[in-house]
Symmetry: C2
Subunit: 459 residues, 2 copies
Amino acid sequence: MIELENGVFMEQVETFAKRHQWSVVRDMLLLLEPADIAAILAEVSEELLPLLYRVLPKEPAAEVFVEMDPEEQEVLIKGFSDTELKEVLDELYVDDTVDLIEEMPATVVKRILKHTDPQTRQSVNEILNYPEDSAGSIMTTEFVDLKRDMTVEAALKRIRRTGVDKETINICYVTDPSRHLLGLVSIRTLLLADDDDVIEDIMETNYISVSTMDDREDVAQYLSKYDFLAMPVVDKESRLVGIVTIDDAIDVMEEETTEDFELMAGITPTDKPYLRAGVIETVKSRIPWLMLLMLSATFTGIVINGFEDKLAACSVLMGFIPMLMGTGGNCGNQSSVAVIRGLSLNEIDFSDIFRVAWKEARVAVMCGVMLASANFVKLLLIDRWLMGNADLTVLVALAICLTLICTVFCAKVVGAMLPLLAEKIGLDPAVLAAPFISTIVDVLSLLIYFRFATALLGL
Amino acid sequence: MIELENGVFMEQVETFAKRHQWSVVRDMLLLLEPADIAAILAEVSEELLPLLYRVLPKEPAAEVFVEMDPEEQEVLIKGFSDTELKEVLDELYVDDTVDLIEEMPATVVKRILKHTDPQTRQSVNEILNYPEDSAGSIMTTEFVDLKRDMTVEAALKRIRRTGVDKETINICYVTDPSRHLLGLVSIRTLLLADDDDVIEDIMETNYISVSTMDDREDVAQYLSKYDFLAMPVVDKESRLVGIVTIDDAIDVMEEETTEDFELMAGITPTDKPYLRAGVIETVKSRIPWLMLLMLSATFTGIVINGFEDKLAACSVLMGFIPMLMGTGGNCGNQSSVAVIRGLSLNEIDFSDIFRVAWKEARVAVMCGVMLASANFVKLLLIDRWLMGNADLTVLVALAICLTLICTVFCAKVVGAMLPLLAEKIGLDPAVLAAPFISTIVDVLSLLIYFRFATALLGL
C-alpha cells in the first residue's frame, strides 16, 4: 500500500517541511517502518535530508540510519555534531557499526571510531579482522549468555536486565566460565518451563555451531535448512564469540543469489542496487566479460573460414548455423543452470558427478532425438516441399539432424560438468555458466556440423 | 561436519539396525538435527525406512516427518497404523499438514483428513482454499493472540498456557473480540516491560499486515525487507486469520529464486531437487522451450538465405556472424538479468522504465564503442596484417564494427525493456529472459549486418 502512494506521500512530507511544520512531518514519517523512512530519505534533496532525519526520535532514528544506503549515511555523518554522532552510534548494534565502517571513507571511519565506546570498538575491530566472506564478518557479539546452574527465574531476570542491548533474546546461549558453548535454550523453552527448573536440565546440548572462518553462504544455508533464528559462532578453541541472526543470513542469501545471477550473465558482481550504480560503474562491471567473449568468438570465425569454400559450394548449409549453435547454447544453459542451482542449495556436490553425468546423458539423448525428428520433418515438409527449396535434399536434412543430436549431447554434458569441476577447484560455479558454455558449444557444434556435411554430402 | 561423515554414519546406522540394536540406532539418530535425520532416511531402503522412523520418540519423529520428501512420507503413511498416523498428525502444525496434503495422492489425503481433529481439519480446508501463490496458502493459523486490556503478567501467563501449540511465540498479536488486529507485541517487549503494564500501552499499533490474497513472494520480500520474524495475514474485513513465519518465507524465497533461474534458462519450473527429478520429468520440463526456440531460429535462417548470394560473393563476412550474434546475445543477457533481479528484489518497478532505458542506452553506447574499437584494431592488426587475410579490407572491418555498435545498442535496450513490459502485463519477467532475447537479437543483428555490408561494400 505504501509503495503505491510513495509519490504522493513524499510530496506531502516536502510541503510540510517547507512550511517548517516539523511535528507534522515527524508524525507522518513515524507511520512508516524504518526501511520505508530510509527509502523516503533517499529521494529527498541533500539539504532536506538532515532536517528530516533530525525530526525523528532517537531510537527510530538509529533504526532508519541502519536501513539507509552508504551515500546518505555519509551525508548525514558529515553534518552531525559530535554529540549527534555519538547518540546514533550508541543505538547501533555492533554488526551494524561494522557494516557502516566498511562502507565509509577513511576520514569518516576515524571519526566514527573516535566516538564509539572502547568495548564496542574492540568488538568492531575483531569482526573487521575476519575475511570478507566469513561467518565472523557477519556475526554480532551482542547475545544473551546464561550459566548452566542458573534457575529459569534467574535466567529470565538476567534477560530482563541485559536484554535491551542484545540483538535477539529469542535464543540464549549457555557458556562455562571460559566462554565455551555448552548449549542453547530458546525463550520459548524458558517461558514454558517452571521457574525453579535449572538451565542445565532444559538446555539443548545437541546444537549446531559454525566456526568464525566458515563461509558466510554456508552459514546462511544452515539457518535456512534447519529453520534456526540464530546460529552460534565459535572460535578455534570452541569459545562462543558471536551469533549470526536470521535477518543477516537472509541478506547474505540475497546478495549471493544476485551474485550468481550476475556471474551467470557475465557481469562482475557489485553490491549496488540497479538504479544506484552509475553508468561508468555499470560499464566497468560488464565490459571485461563482453570483451573476453567477443575475442573468444574468434575461434568460431576460424572454423567457419576454414570451411568457407565448401560452404560456398553448398550454400544451403549456411542458414542453419545459427539454429544449431543456438539450440546447443540453450541446451547447455539448461543443464548448467540446473546444476549451479543444485550446488548453491547444497542439493548436489562434486561426489554426485557420475549421477549427474548419467542423468544428463540420458536427458540429452532423448532431447536430441526429439529435436532432430521434429526438425527433420519440418525441413522436408516446410522448407523443401512447401517453400520449394530444392537444395535441401534428404542428405542435407540428415546432416543437420545428426549434428543436432550430437551437439545437444555435448552441450548438456559440458553444461552439467563444468560447474561441478569449477566447484571442485574452488571457483564459483556460476562463473563458468551460460556465456562460457555457449562459446565452447558454438565451436563444438560447428566442428560437428562440418564433419557430418563433409561425410554425407561428399564436399 | 555431518556432511563429510554422512556415508560412514549411514553405514553404522545400517549395521546396528541389522543387529536389531534399536536403542543404539535411536541414540545415534538423535545426535542429528531433524533435517539431517530426514536426509539419512531418504537414503535407506524402503524396508528399513519405517523401522528406523519408529525408533524415534514422538516429538522429534514429527519434526523429522515434516522435513522428509513426499516420496518417503507416502511410504511411511502407507505403513502407519491408524493410531500411529493420528500421533504424527497431532504433532504437526497446521501449515505442515497443509503441505503434506498438497503432496499426497487422493487416497492418502482421505485417510489423513479422517484422522485430524475437526478444528485442524477446518483450518486445513480454509488454507487449501487460497490460491497456490497467495499469502493465505503459506500461513499458519496457530499464533498467540492477546487482548488489549490484559496486563503483561496475564499475557505471559496466557503464553505459558497456550504457547506449546503455537508455531512461534516471538511475536504475539492483539485482537478485539471480533478478531480485528489491533497491534502486535514481541516477547522481548513483554519481558522487558513491567508485570502490571497494560498490553494496549506497549503494543506496536503501527504494524504492517498482508492480505490473504497477496502474492506469497511479496510477503517473503516484506519479511526480508523489514527484518520481521512473522507477518500477520488479515482477510478482507481486516480480521486476523493467520501469520507467515520467517522460515516459511525463506522457503518461498528459495523456491521463487530457483523458478527465476529455471525460467531464465528456458526450463519449466518443477519443485523437485535436481537429483530427485526423473529423466522423463526433466526432459518434459526442458523440451518445450528447446522446441520453440529451435523453430523460432527459422527466422535467422530465412534472413541468411535471403542474403545467400551476396554472402557467397563476399565470403569473408560469414565468419563473423557467430561473433556478432554472440556478443549481441551476451549484451542483451546482461541487461535483462540485471533488470529481472532488480524487479524481484523490488528495487525497480515499471514506473522506472524511462530511467532504466536511459541508463541502458548510455551503457550500451559506451560498451558498443569500446567493443567496436577493440574489434577494429584486432581485425586489421591480427586478421589482416598478421594472418594475411587480404579479403578483410578496412570497409569490411568498418561494416563489422558499425554492426557491433548498433547490435549492442538494440540488445541492451531490448534486454532491459522486455522484462519490464512482461511484468506490466502480468507475466513473470524471467520468462522473457535470455533465450527469447537472444532469438530476437540474433535476427536484429543479422539484419543490421547485411544492411551495413550492402551499403559499405556495394554488394
